[in-house]
């Protein structure tokens, strides 16, 4: 019987996707698991696998089309079969449920197939550690250091099959060599005509949506403070000499995580029902990429050592640059650090990420004349500006947080214990 292939919902914010290209044409045989198309979401390019075997009977979306999630884009069935499925009216779409932020690397999520062979389009996602997988798959993941939460399962209820894991490993191992397109890059090409609007890349459109909603929805206020980074720089040099490379930004992430532990109200989300405190401190780092901005998340910072934070953030930044970042890597943040220090920026303020309480804008470390013990000295000063949600906190909370952050960064050995 014929099976509808729909535009899957590949992330919690995805509402539509661009059909970049078809990998199969009408009349061609497809097997379950074959890549049939490439789809661009607001975050990344993904391959769409067929979840049915048969003949590709009909293609309903052209390359370049922007298609709403849930829209039928193709029909797979037996040769000569008339698609029994009622023709969806133009623009008609299915309700698609995505319970939690989905990961899903470059591989497209494959919608679950229901018993009748029709796609429900529902991509089941389990809470961390509760993914369905056989003991063998769990062992393999453990041995390879893979978080099963990042692997899309195609078995019943999203069960992760061995082949899913193997494919994930293959993709992961291949990723650094190959060059999957940078996010935002493979948008349908358009010729630049002055004075005419150019369509936004998916990423640009997503950024526009997010900052607009934050700016309109969150009453921002900013508090600024200067931090003497002399000691922190000395610590960084010392560790580097001992073979532990880390960036100033890693020190700031660690210090922010420690300060957030003391002031959890800044590691929280606003909701109409009340404040939601987050048990984990997941610090997002704003990373500039071609065509926009990605905010990969260092998860569980409260439990991570400086060294671990450095390793994780290095990997995240690398993947962001290569365009191999996964959905999982860029979701779940509870606080954000935006650092423009490398551009010599003296100070700036940032817009709070949706569902977060605050964002820390970090400027450059600059030689500054200061007076200390009645003497004029040269200090390595850095401006930090905290934008905070006034619904959740007041100026004094932001000030206390920044004082704590300053104290930690100025006596950085505190971060080593």
């Amino acid at each position: 019987m014929a099976t509808e292939i729909i535009m899957p919902k590949l992330s919690d914010t995805m509402e539509e996707g661009v059909l970049v290209s078809w990998k199969k044409s009408t009349g061609e045989r497809v097997e379950r698991g074959d890549i049939i198309a490439e789809v661009q979401t607001d975050k990344a390019n993904m391959e769409l696998e067929s979840f049915a075997s048969g003949i590709l009977l009909e293609i309903r979306a052209k390359a370049g089309d922007v298609v709403a999630v849930g829209t039928v884009i193709a029909i797979v069935g037996d040769a000569g079969e008339k698609p029994e499925i009622k023709l969806a009216a133009e623009g008609e779409r299915r309700e698609i449920a995505v319970e939690t932020p989905l990961m899903r690397e470059e591989k497209a999520a494959v919608p679950e197939q229901d018993k009748t062979g029709g796609a429900t389009g529902k991509v089941a996602v389990a809470a961390a550690g509760e993914e369905k997988a056989s003991p063998l798959v769990r062992r393999l993941a453990r041995e390879k250091g893979i978080d099963l939460g990042e692997v899309q399962g195609t078995g019943p209820d999203g069960r992760i099959l061995r082949e899913n894991l193997e494919k994930y490993i293959e993709v992961r191992e291949k990723a650094p060599q190959e060059k999957p397109a940078l996010p935002g890059r493979t948008a349908p090409e358009v010729s630049v005509v002055a004075g005419k609007p150019q369509p936004f890349s998916r990423m640009r459109a997503a950024i526009a949506r997010n900052v607009t909603s934050s700016w309109h929805g969150i009453p921002h206020f900013c508090v600024r403070m200067s931090v003497d980074m002399g000691e922190a720089e000395a610590l960084r040099r010392g560790l580097k000499e001992r073979g532990i490379p880390l960036s100033i930004n890693d020190l700031i992430i660690k210090a922010a995580a420690m300060a957030l532990e003391k002031y959890p109200v800044l590691n929280a989300s606003f909701s109409d029902e009340g404040i939601i405190f987050h048990p984990e401190t997941n610090v997002g780092i704003a990373v500039s990429v071609e065509g926009g901005l990605l905010v990969p998340v260092v998860r569980g910072c409260e439990k991570l050592s400086l060294k671990e934070i450095a390793e994780i953030s290095r990997g995240l930044i690398e993947r962001a640059g290569q365009g191999t970042i996964s959905e999982h890597d860029i979701t779940g943040g509870t606080f954000t650090v935006s650092n423009l220090g490398m551009f010599g920026v003296e100070e700036f303020s940032a817009i709070i990420h949706p569902n977060q309480a605050a964002i820390l804008a970090v400027a450059a470390i600059l030689d500054t004349v200061v007076i200390r013990d009645n003497r004029v000295v040269n200090a390595r000063m850095m401006q930090v500006t905290l934008s905070a949600d006034h619904r959740l906190v007041d100026g004094v909370d932001a000030a206390k947080f920044l004082s704590e952050l300053k104290k930690i960064l100025e006596t950085p050995c505190a971060m080593l214990v």
Binding site: P135, L136, G155, R159, L161, R162
Partner: protein
């Protein structure tokens, strides 16, 4: 090597061991003059005489009890119960005496006894004469349980059982007596107790079976091969001692297991094997272990319904496909 039946292979083992060791004696119902209900003891009376081959009254408790006593006195009895169903009448001697004396007396006495008993269903013999009771004996510590599936194993295991100083319940399958196979005629040929046999190598799934179910597993494997499914078949040969190492190694290789036993499902041999797999191979399993077993019912007499209650080749095929399904 010679081609012979399972029945003749057992007969050969008895004769060879009686010739080899004068302390080996045989008794049971109709084993001497009538040469056994299934003709396994054919020719024994003629060759070894009334002193070593005896017909007994219809009293299973006596058959085993006398074996226990004479084993303590230095003989090596290899007695026959007409069918395993009648072993239930001898359970006190089997469980309370035969299984326990060696350890209760701190090893001062040995009990080199073999109790041969045919069993299994499939011949329309009704609820009381179609049973597979191996789990009862496997459950009890102190006795070995042999369950040969081929003529060669029947001979080799029986010879090992007779030579062993531990009591052995030697469970033959009534439907295998006429099955044929190559059997070594060598008098020194034995098959060790406690060593499973990989009857067929494969990579996709391990089928663990014993007795007639191993033959059925081979048939299922042949059928599945036509569909490109590669099954490894492990024949346990003995349930006690159980060669856990061999079947767990196989399942660690394939990642999937189907256990086929003719006995009842609940607390059956399959349940024990399955538990061992979960304990030993948890990290290697791709799918839950499947059990194929006899149904939990007193065996019906009707041929068609009886067939539904005993595992068939297609049941094993179905179970293999289940563990290989896209679900896991």
């Amino acid at each position: 090597m010679a081609e012979m039946t399972y029945r003749d292979a057992l007969n050969m083992a008895l004769k060879e061991e009686m010739r080899r060791d004068p302390s080996v004696v045989v008794w049971g119902e109709d084993v001497a003059l009538y040469e056994g209900s299934f003709k396994v003891t054919r020719g024994l009376l003629a060759e070894f005489g009334e002193g070593r081959v005896k017909d007994t009254p219809i009293s299973e408790n006596t058959i085993v009890g006398v074996a226990v006593g004479s084993a303590l006195g230095g003989l090596r009895p290899a007695v026959e119960l007409m069918t395993v169903n009648f072993a239930l009448l001898a359970m006190d001697q089997i469980i309370n005496h035969m299984a326990k004396i060696r350890s209760m007396f701190g090893g001062q006495a040995t009990l080199p006894i073999v109790v041969r008993a045919p069993g299994g269903g499939g011949s329309q013999l009704g609820a009381q004469h179609s049973q597979s009771l191996e789990a009862f004996f496997m459950h009890c510590p102190g006795i070995y349980v042999a369950v040969p599936s081929t003529p060669s194993d029947a001979k080799g295991l029986l010879k090992s059982a007779i030579r062993d100083n531990n009591p052995v319940m030697f469970l033959e399958h009534e439907l295998l007596y006429n099955s044929k196979g190559e059997v070594p005629e060598d008098e020194d040929f034995t098959v060790p107790l406690g060593k499973a046999h990989i009857m067929r190598e494969g990579k996709d799934v391990t089928i663990i079976a014993y007795s007639r179910m191993s033959i059925l597993a081979l048939a299922a494997a042949a059928e599945l091969e036509k569909e490109g499914i590669s099954c490894e078949v492990v024949d346990l040969r003995t349930l006690t001692p159980l060669d856990t190492a061999t079947f767990t190694a196989s399942v660690k290789k394939t990642g999937r297991a189907v256990v086929v036993s003719e006995c009842w499902r609940t607390c059956g041999v399959g349940a024990e094997i399955t538990s061992l797999l979960y304990e030993n191979c948890f990290d290697s399993l791709l799918a839950p272990v499947q059990r194929v077993s006899g149904l939990d019912v007193p065996m019906p007499y009707s041929r068609k319904i009886e067939k539904l209650c005993i595992p068939q080749v297609e049941d094993a095929v179905k179970a293999v496909k289940e563990v290989l399904s896209q679900k896991y």
